[in-house]
Symmetry: C2
């Protein structure tokens, strides 16, 4: 089988900066952060901001890398140096580490489904509240642009793998067993659909509530009848 080419970038999950809170406001309160690092962060955010703006103005496909580079005042090469693909510019999930951390913090004697419920709700809440507008735009793009949706699914499968190891740690089960992997991916699949549902209904519902209903459904199967 002569294959194993074609890997498209492995995504380091926490790309470059280890501990950087979302506030680049005061640029002089973190001594151990060189000028270079700060510039890199600023560039990264400039690219993302430019992308968000352009996408909202023109739509996703109509926005080219060149335009993004122009508005962010960098060269196109630099854009690709910061993000492996165009889709990654609008996605870039920082949820995985949150989720893992949250899951490890749960009391060891808590029933497993309860842990999942807590953790999912918490991760989702933090992720959403951080920037509601961005979350809405992201989910909106997931619905509208197939490429973005695909990329999101890819990323969720990564999250799935992480969930597997977490479940393994938590329950002492083999993280690579079929059962664990299937369980994790069915959760992920369900939550994915929840995001789509939220966006398709123009973000009218309370997302945390939707997540709750999702977990109940997965846990107990389809309820008797609720239309």
């Amino acid at each position: 089988m002569p294959d194993n080419d074609g890997m498209t970038a492995a995504r380091p999950t926490t790309p470059t900066t280890p501990s950087t809170p979302a506030t680049p406001s005061t640029p002089a309160d973190r001594p151990p952060l060189g000028l270079r690092e700060r510039k890199k962060i600023k560039t990264r955010e400039a690219i993302r901001a430019a992308t968000y703006a352009l996408v909202e103005e023109q739509g996703y496909d109509a926005t080219t890398i060149e335009q993004i580079a122009d508005r962010a005042e960098v060269s196109p090469s630099t854009v690709f140096r910061y993000f492996p693909t165009k889709e990654d510019i609008v996605l870039t999930d920082e949820y995985d580490p949150i989720l893992l951390e949250e899951l490890r913090a749960r009391p060891a004697d808590e029933p497993w489904p309860d842990s999942i419920r807590h953790v999912m709700r918490e991760a989702v809440r933090t992720g959403i509240e951080e920037d509601l507008a961005v979350a809405k735009l992201r989910t909106h793009l997931m619905v509208q642009v197939p490429a973005v949706r695909s990329r999101m699914m890819e990323s969720m499968s990564v999250t799935g793998r992480m969930l597997c190891t977490a479940i393994g740690e938590r329950t002492g089960r083999d993280p690579n067993s079929l059962e664990v992997r299937v369980y994790a991916m069915s959760l992920i699949g369900g939550l994915m659909e929840t995001s789509l549902y939220w966006a398709e209904n123009d973000h009218q519902d309370d997302f945390a509530n939707l997540v709750d209903r999702t977990l109940t459904t997965i846990q107990h199967g389809l309820p008797k009848e609720t239309s």
Copy 2:
């Protein structure tokens, strides 16, 4: 919101030929099929065959559309006329209609989880037995090539929508309700992972058996402790 561009092809699920069994063996047993139609089918299959062969020789990414066109003895334009994307050449699922039909054929009084189990197993069996080698190559590519995996996930989300309507018909529930959609997608997600698991373990397990375990896991949650 100026978006709604960027749709990448909607896939008609049953592309061009309405009733063509998988046997192109005797090319003279179907009178109401014009020469034109027959040639189209032959071209389609030539492209797919060429792609399978080249991918097995060189790997997916190393295989260009031009090479495929050359070996299939058509022009590159023609390749794109038959398949919207390169990934679609190796995927092209005919599973959806089978699944839907199978689901409608179940007795109306059968408990819902049993129906799912039957149908999934049947659909999987038919799909696999039709050409085991192709099924193996596909799942192998799913593991190796991110682009193919993404495309497969896309297609599974289509299958998910169809599952929703089937569930709606079957249970009288709203096919667009969060609960139904989540239930469907968790099933799909689980089965997706099952395919990956199968391929990652070099197709050693019996796939039908894996599917069985998968459905049990989704239905009852993680079992106490196995493995």
